[in-house]
Every structure is written in C-alpha cells, then in structure tokens.
Symmetry: C2
Subunit: 281 residues, 2 copies
C-alpha cells in the first residue's frame, strides 16, 4: 500500500489478503472506500485485476461478503477490486432519502445537474482515478482490467466497457439494468443526475451504446427468470436486440428459478471469474 | 414444509433451495428462526443434514451469507441447518444490553437461573426440538446428523456432541471456545445462566467433557493463529490436552495468518463439509 490508501482492515482469506481501504478522491471530492482482494499469486508478482460494480444500496463490502468470489479469485490468480456505489459524505441535502437515488445509487455516471455535479462523478472515478490508484498501489497488471457488475453495477460495467473498450479486456454482467432510459430506475436517476434532455441519457444506456458500436469481445450476461425486477427494470431483451443490430458477440443466459439476489450471483460467480481469467467458460 | 414452519423467504441457490423459516418453540417459549439449505439431491430423496451453530451476535443468516458453504453442500448433497443463536422476543429486561450475553448469545445451554431459565434453553432446542421438527418437515435423513459451529457455536457443537454422541454422526469446530469455564466469555455467561456454582458449569465445557469421555469418532478443529480471541477466550490447547487424556481422536489444525472472522471460515469451509459428508478430508 502506498500513501493514496488508508487501510482500515485486512484479513487472510483463501491464502491471499483481503483489505478494505479508503482514500480521498479527486473525482468525487469525498473519501471513497474500496475492497481489494489479492490472491496468493500476487505475492510472487503482478496479477490481472477484475473490477466489480455493485448494485443499489450496496457498499464496497457487499460483493466480497456475499458472492463467494474469493475462492475462485484465489484459484485463478485474479485480484478483485470492489469500489463503493456512490460518494458518501458529500452532505448534499436529501441524498440519503431514497434507496434508488443518491447515496448507494451513483449509477456510474458523471452528474451534470445541481446539486449532484460536483460529487456524483462515479464514471470518472471508476474509469480513470480508481484504476490509476490501484495500479500504483497494488501488485496488479496495468491494462489487463476486467469489469463486471450486478444490476445497477451491471449497467455500469456494460456502459463503461462499451464507451471505452480499449481500457477493459473483458466484460460481463449479472442481471444488469440493460436499457435504463426505458425503465423507472433509470428515468429517476438520469433525470435528476443528467437533466430533462433525454438525448444526454443515451450515452449511459448499454443497449443504445451497443446498438451503435460492438465491444470487441464476447460479453457474458446472466439473468434469473424469477427476478422480480426483470420486467419492470432490467430488459435484457433490449440488449439482445442491440447485439443483433451491431453484431455484438453476446452470451445471454437465462436461469429458471433464480431471483435478483446474491444467492443467484453466487450460483454463477465461478463462470464469471473463469470468463475474465481465461476468456471462456 | 409442514405446519411447524412459517416460510419467510426462499431463494434458488446452486441448484437447490435456501429458505428462511420461523416457528413457535416449546423449548424457548418464543418464536425461533432457522435457515435451511436443501441441495439439488433433496429433490430426489432424503439427504443427510449438517447443523451449524453460529457465534456471538450472529443470526440464522450469518453462516449462510458469509461462509461460502452452499456451493459445497450442493456438490456433496448435504442439507444445511442454521438456527439462530438465542431466543428473541422473550422480553427479559436487559437481554439486549450486552453483545456477549443474552440476545445473540444463548451459549447452547439450558439456563437454570432467573430470569433466563424459562426462555434461554438453546441446548434443549438444538438437541431435541429442532432436529425433530426438521426431520418431520424437510427431506433429510433421520439420525444422520452432523454438527459444527464457530466460536460460541464451536463450543456448542463440541459440548452437544460430547454429551449425546449417539445423536450426532460427525462433529467439527472452527475457533471454538474450547474451555469456557476458564475464560471471560464463559465465566460471564455461565455465572448468569447457570449460577455461581462452578460444578454445574463443567457439563457445558468441551475440554472437561472430552477429558471424561471421548466422542466415538475423530473431531476436526480449525484455529487461526492471528485470532485476537485465541489467547483470552478460546484455548484450543485445553482441548488438545483433554484429547490426550481420554484418547479422543482429534485433528486440530492451526493456520498462520488467519483471524476469527468468516474470512477464515470460508477459507476452510470446504474441508469441514467434506469431513461431514465423507468422514475424512
């Protein structure tokens, strides 16, 4: 660890080291928190890093506690990087009032509207600031970044990789908000973070982005069919249609019986880590 | 599910079904809550059940969320039964004041002192009432019960199996409170639940019980060496000495670098499930 991060706690886990760290973020103007798992292989040299973007209400801890990913990261030699889902401590009036907007709901975009524009800049944070800090402070390989996420974080992973594919070697998503401009979660967040002009929303919509330009690699998406958010909020069929339109290679798997929870995520997590580590299932 | 349990939620997980249930307990005179994972094999017939007793402050959810056990239970065909760590809702004045006594800290004994004697009867609950209800309501094999636990729950697993070995086919423990009569956690709980007479405490102390009579099978115990509770509260060396005295077969493994947390538990959980499923590592 170099100076950028203040380490709050560390734990030995599956032969590697899990740490929870905090740092001052230039992008958000607040403290940001991030969980980092370094597999045993990182004690011998630099390892590839896989970034996970979590969903609404989650923190930097949620994925690492609930997804069962660490044992696979240890076996495959992947570092796991799990940032928080929004700035905290900005002190914006009302930012804690809603579970699907504000705190815990940064939507991985750079807000342009007041009072959010100064602090709610998770796109810049995740794409620029965080990888630079991680690659300076931890034994991870530069430029071999994988990216995935769940729900709001699946939206984040897909849009970030589609907008700047050169920065992300692999991408996958779990129950992503695949077409946010067309669903209540996206409409609420985008109208407040980005303003009333829906033209500006398109640059943060995975289905609209994918329709314009394919990501240069196959994308894995898993979706449970008993997910109560599937019909009102997620719309994987929009992503599927966009993939057909642009020629995107997409492996969209639908899973009977599974819901939106981390019980679903842990059931398919090994496939995602293998996908990022090896390029196939 | 038959009438005994009210199912609060269910989730598909690793091809099986995880449920959180509640029921009225005759043993505790309160509602009790329990998590039950049924592996895919339980859809074809009855499967062996492995009971997990959690530590201080935990609930019926903690182990199932944090231990990474479900994937192994699914692979091995084990049901997981995870009860809460105390009665809740008894309404005893002061029962929520301490994190290491009262709520979340039932210590898997039958209290004899007032005001605890009516409700704090986790020994009877775990040994008699719960297995009977589980075996009536879920597709698990009668009499093929495994038992393990962590910290306070490791104490519970060891003492319960040593006192009634005919009821438990296999036993293991993670960082157990191995000699509670000699440490602050045990002294505090036993003096209040059982009274000042230390003679009565001996029947709930794993090291004292093991010294009298060995459990008819090898016991697996894992302990992290960076566990901050090791020296003040856990004392695995007392268990080791008791095993020598009675001829108990004991595999006590000490793990450099690991602490008391579920990050440690998840690192060794596969071995424990394999131990209970197959009788060896």
């Amino acid at each position: 660890m170099v100076d950028a991060f203040e380490t709050r706690e560390t734990h030995r886990c599956h032969g590697g080291t899990l740490g929870f760290h905090a740092h001052r973020s230039a992008a958000t103007g607040t403290e940001m928190r991030v969980g980092v798992y370094l597999p045993p292989q990182a004690e011998q040299g630099r390892v590839p890093a896989l970034y996970y973007l979590a969903g609404l209400t989650c923190t930097e801890e949620t994925f690492l506690i609930k997804a069962g990913a660490i044992r696979h990261a240890a076996a495959l030699g992947l570092a796991l990087i799990a940032p928080d889902t929004s700035p905290r401590g900005a002190g914006i009036p009302g930012e804690g009032d809603d579970w699907d907007f504000g705190l815990g709901a940064g939507f991985y975009l750079d807000a342009t509207e007041e009072p959010w524009a100064r602090h709610y800049r998770m796109y810049s944070y995740v794409t620029d600031e965080l990888p630079a800090l991680i690659e300076t402070s931890f034994p991870v390989v530069s430029g071999q970044r994988g990216l995935f996420g769940h729900s709001m974080g699946g939206h984040g992973a897909l849009t970030i990789a589609l907008k700047q594919p050169e920065r992300w070697r692999s991408v996958s998503a779990l129950a992503p908000i695949a077409n946010p401009v067309a669903v209540p979660w996206g409409e609420k967040a985008f109208s407040r973070y980005l303003g009333a002009d829906r033209e500006t929303w398109a640059s943060y919509d995975a289905s609209l982005l994918m329709r314009q330009r394919a990501y240069p690699g196959k994308i894995l998406v898993d979706q449970g069919l008993e997910d109560k958010f599937l019909e009102p909020q997620l719309h994987p069929e929009a992503l599927e249609a966009a993939a057909v339109a642009s020629g995107q290679q997409l492996l969209l798997r639908r899973h009977a019986g599974y819901d939106h929870s981390y019980w679903f995520i842990q059931s398919v997590i090994e496939d995602h880590l293998r996908w990022h580590a090896t390029g196939s299932l």
